[in-house]
């Protein structure tokens, strides 16, 4: 869901609450600042317009008549957005696993290459296992797959402790792999014309 949703809805609710108070005062025949009420009304109308725009952006064919229908619609949109986000997470994990499979480890010592390949295989398995988990997978920090190893090999403590911690918590094998991998030890096979 877009980040505009909460603020838009909150703004609408706040202005409507103020308007409600003013209306109650009018109902009690008490004096109100009509200009202020009108200003609040305009703000509420603006918030409603934004909300409508957001809904129609998700569901261009959506229509509703009242708040209840709006709430149902909002809930539906929210589920849709959540499913889309999980799928995106899984795709990202699988993309990184494929990227790890595609690359080669280069080192002057074979034993070191062998160790790093084992770590790579464990990370690939871990990523694929996470992507196969039912429900929302662990969020993977960092950029897309093709840039991910370079980004991860550059993480330093304590500067990137948060991202490192996230990797470590969700993807322990992946974290161990990138901790042993130096940026110049990773070579990605490029498609060469035969």
């Amino acid at each position: 869901m877009s980040s505009l949703w909460p603020s838009t809805i909150t703004s609408l609710h706040d202005t409507l609450a103020l308007l409600g108070e003013s209306v109650e005062e009018l109902r009690a025949a008490k004096a109100v600042d009509v200009a202020e009420v009108i200003e609040e009304l305009k703000m509420a109308a603006e918030s409603a317009r934004n909300l409508r725009a957001l809904i129609l952006a998700e569901l261009p064919e959506a229509s509703w008549q009242n708040r209840q229908e709006l709430d149902e619609l909002l809930e539906k949109i929210e589920k849709r957005v959540e499913a889309r986000n999980i799928e995106q997470l899984r795709s990202r994990l699988l993309g990184l696993a494929a990227e790890l499979e595609r690359g080669n480890i280069v080192h002057r010592r074979a034993v070191r290459v062998k160790q790093l390949n084992q770590l790579r295989d464990q990370a690939i398995n871990e990523l694929q296992a996470q992507a196969a988990v039912k429900g929302a997978p662990q969020p993977l920090p960092g950029p897309d797959a093709d840039e991910w190893l370079e980004w991860a090999c550059c993480l330093k403590e304590p500067d990137d402790a948060e991202s490192l911690q996230t990797i470590r918590n969700g993807f322990a094998h992946l974290d161990e792999f990138v901790a042993n991998l130096e940026p110049d030890m990773w070579v990605v096979k490029t498609e060469t014309a035969v």
């Binding site: 609408l12 202005t15 009018l26 109902r27 025949a29 004096a31 409603a48 317009r49």
Partner: protein, 747 residues
């Protein structure tokens, strides 16, 4: 929803409902018409303000926080208003009942009147029972009570069936009454007319009071005045007439009804005025007098102007000691002349004609205390010093000489009485002495006393009469005797004496008598009629004098005839042609030196006028000492009865209370009050009663509300303060008028 004030609350709730619907749409993220919602919010705010004002108008101290508290307050107000409406309804019924009681039924048949009166009584009872019932009184359709009967009589079926049905259902007896009543059969007295009648009654009462005061003043004036005539019998007759007139005046004053109007001036000038009335010129005044005051009319008809000496006027003079001594050598000796200061008992010891030589008639006078004999030289009514002189007090003049000349009437002031003006006194007494003792005059009067008396009176008038030639001889002498030429007078007298002592004395006397008879008769006839007019004109000129109780004013007035050279000039011219030489005569040696105080005055005065005015001067002091009131009346010139009313109404002229009806009649500029929008929306109506003061210029002042719906009060005040009225006049003068103004508001 509260059923009370449905329009205002409904408007508020409606506006809020629409606004809430719009807010609900916004809450659902739906689009709304912002302009419409803003309009609804404005309407809601306006309605809320109306409701607030409604609540605060009924309960100014009210406060609330929410709708529940507002509803509770409205419920409380509703009960109060309902109670008030109920009371108003009852008041309306009672007012109509009162209105029905006030009105009268007019019909050509008494039976019909009785029937309608019965119906009216039943309707009144019905209205009162409805008003007195414990529950809610039936609403009475129609306008206010003062217009209700006319409205009800104009109801028709089927056009007004609703009102008729309401009337029939709630007030069957009243409906029965108005069904039988025709509009022309109902009359209601106008309250403004009643108030006007009260005002007129008040004015009439003041008028009567003033009139009574006037009658009393005249009665007192008649009592205090003196009647002078040379016949005692005539004096007695006139006294009787006077008594009857006085009794008549007093009985009119004591009468229960309004006394008849007395024409003429104030009391101190009235007799002079009345004696001057002539027919047919003054027929109207005479007729009024005759109708209202028969005895008074009888009295003044018998009274000649010169027979009346008003109270407070100077009395004629008596010879003074100085003149007595100066003329001793020319006169027949008489005991009083030798008396240095003659006293009243002495001067009145020979009052009657029988006691004179048969030619000279004494003037019999009747004053406040029986009949008096007084020396008199003037025919004018004059104020008599408040000194009692009874008839049995002999005149000094009478004793002094058996050649008593005609106008010896008023008690001559003694030396003590005239001490205030010794110079005038001396001159005056000298002149009198000369008159009394001069043989020429004595002879003249002896031959024709009536003519002489008449001429004497004429000559004594203020306006000198040119034809008084006979008098001019001795008057010129008198004039100079009173002046500073005593020596010349003495010489003349010596020559005259010698003349009479000679052989031709008798011949000359006879010739002189014949001449005097002829001239006197001519003059008497020619001026017989002129006497009255002269007296009247003189009285008119004397009006300001007579009204002046202050001696200063009397003295100031004297210059017109005595001390003012300009004023004396015409009279002087009249006197001079008759005796040019006489004017050059030296003053009488016996003239007292005390005359030096005002010698010129005497010299320049025409003879008899001098005598009269000097006499006035002399008597001014006693008048001042006695402080004769002018009957408590105004010192102003004579005024009519009506014109004298305002003097008794100073309180009325300050501020009067007038009814709203009268004020309505005076309204010249009316500004219609604007109906307040809120009051109109709230269907607030009623009458605002204002209290206002209509200024002398017709402007509205001191305006304030007495009652009425608070929401309408300001509008009524704003409008009425712009109204303009014609000034309310009371007795010809604009006065401030306080009134109530009812401003009705019907949406």
């Amino acid at each position: 929803m509260n059923s009370f004030w449905p329009p205002a609350l409904a408007s508020l709730d409606d506006s809020l409902t629409l606004s809430c619907e719009s807010l609900g749409k916004l809450n659902a993220g739906l689009s709304i018409d912002i302009a419409e919602v803003i309009e609804q919010l404005n309407l809601a705010a306006e309605s809320a303000r109306t409701v607030r004002e409604l609540v605060l108008s009924e309960l100014p101290e009210a406060s609330w926080q929410n709708r529940e508290e507002l509803d509770a307050l409205i419920e409380e107000i509703r009960k109060t208003v309902e109670a008030r409406n109920l009371e108003q309804r009852r008041s309306r019924l009672l007012a109509l009942a009162t209105e029905l009681e006030r009105g009268s039924i007019v019909h050509r048949r008494a039976l019909r009147v009785n029937e309608l009166n019965q119906l009216r009584d039943q309707a009144i009872n019905e209205l009162r029972s409805q008003a007195g019932s414990g529950g809610a009184a039936q609403p009475l359709p129609g306008p206010e009570a003062d217009q209700w009967v006319a409205w009800a009589c104009a109801l028709k079926e089927p056009e007004d069936s609703e009102s008729l049905q309401a009337l029939r259902n709630g007030f069957a007896q009243l409906d029965d009454f108005v069904a039988n009543l025709e509009p022309g059969m109902w009359t209601v007295p106008d309250p403004s007319i009643q108030q006007q009648a009260e005002l007129e009654a008040l004015i009439q009462e003041e008028t009567q009071k003033n009139l009574r005061s006037r009658l009393l003043a005249l009665a007192t004036e008649l009592e205090r005045g003196s009647i002078v005539h040379h016949r005692a019998f005539r004096v007695t007759q006139l006294n009787q007439l006077r008594e009857e007139a006085i009794n008549e005046l007093r009985s009119q004053v004591e009468g229960t009804g309004a006394p008849p109007t007395l024409p003429g001036p104030e009391a101190d000038q009235w007799v002079g005025w009345a004696c001057g009335l002539t027919e047919p010129e003054d027929a109207e005044s005479l007729q009024t007098l005759r109708k209202g005051f028969a005895h008074l009319d009888d009295f003044v008809a018998n009274l000649e102007p010169d027979m009346w000496i008003a109270a407070g006027l100077p009395t004629p003079e008596t010879p003074s000691e100085a003149e007595s001594s100066a003329d001793n050598t020319h006169q027949e000796p008489s005991p009083p002349e030798t008396h240095p200061e003659p006293s009243w008992p002495e001067t009145h010891q020979e009052p009657s004609r029988a006691e004179t030589n048969g030619f000279e008639e004494t003037m019999v006078s009747s004053g406040p205390i029986p009949i008096k004999l007084k020396a008199r030289k003037s025919s004018k009514w004059r104020r008599v010093p408040q000194v009692s002189h009874s008839l049995d007090e002999p005149s000094h003049s009478a004793i002094e000489s058996d050649t008593l000349t005609a106008d010896y009437v008023t008690p001559a002031p003694t030396e003590e009485e005239v001490q205030g003006t010794p110079a005038q006194k001396g001159a005056l007494l000298n002149s009198i002495k000369g008159l009394v003792t001069d043989p020429v005059r004595r002879l003249k009067h002896a031959v024709e006393p009536p003519v002489t008396a008449e001429v004497f009176r004429e000559a004594s008038a203020e306006a000198a009469i040119p034809d008084h030639r006979v008098e001019s001889v001795f008057t010129a002498e008198t004039f100079h005797e009173t002046s500073d030429a005593p020596t010349t007078t003495s010489e003349i007298r010596t020559r005259v004496q010698e003349l009479f002592e000679g052989k031709s004395r008798m011949l000359l006397a006879v010739a002189a008598v014949l001449v005097l008879i002829v001239v006197g008769a001519i003059m008497w006839r020619s001026h017989r009629n002129h006497i009255r007019s002269a007296s009247v004109s003189a009285s008119e000129r004397k009006i300001p004098d007579l009204t002046q109780s202050n001696p200063q004013n009397q003295v100031q007035d004297q210059p017109l005839t005595a001390t003012d050279p300009n004023a004396k000039l015409p009279a002087d011219k009249q006197a001079k042609p008759k005796d040019q030489n006489a004017t050059a005569k030296p003053a009488t040696p016996g003239a007292p030196e005390t005359q030096a105080g005002k010698p010129n005055n005497a010299v320049l005065q025409p003879p008899l006028t001098v005598a009269k005015n000097e006499a006035r001067k002399e008597e001014a002091t006693p008048v001042e000492a006695v402080e004769v009131p002018v009957l408590g009346l105004s010192n102003k010139a004579p005024s009519s009865v009506i014109s004298s009313i305002p003097t008794a109404q100073p309180k009325l002229a300050q501020k009067v209370q007038v009814s709203s009806g009268v004020a309505q009649g005076l309204l010249v500029h009316q500004v219609t009050p604007s109906y307040p929008t809120q009051a109109r929306q709230a269907h607030v109506q009623g009458t605002v009663v204002l209290q206002a003061l209509i200024g002398k210029d017709g402007s509205v002042r001191n305006l304030h509300a007495l009652s009425g719906p608070p929401m309408l009060t300001q509008a009524a005040l704003d409008a009425v303060k712009q109204w303009r009225y014609k000034p309310y006049y009371l007795d010809g003068q604009p006065v401030e008028a306080e009134t109530q103004i009812n401003v009705k508001f019907n949406p």
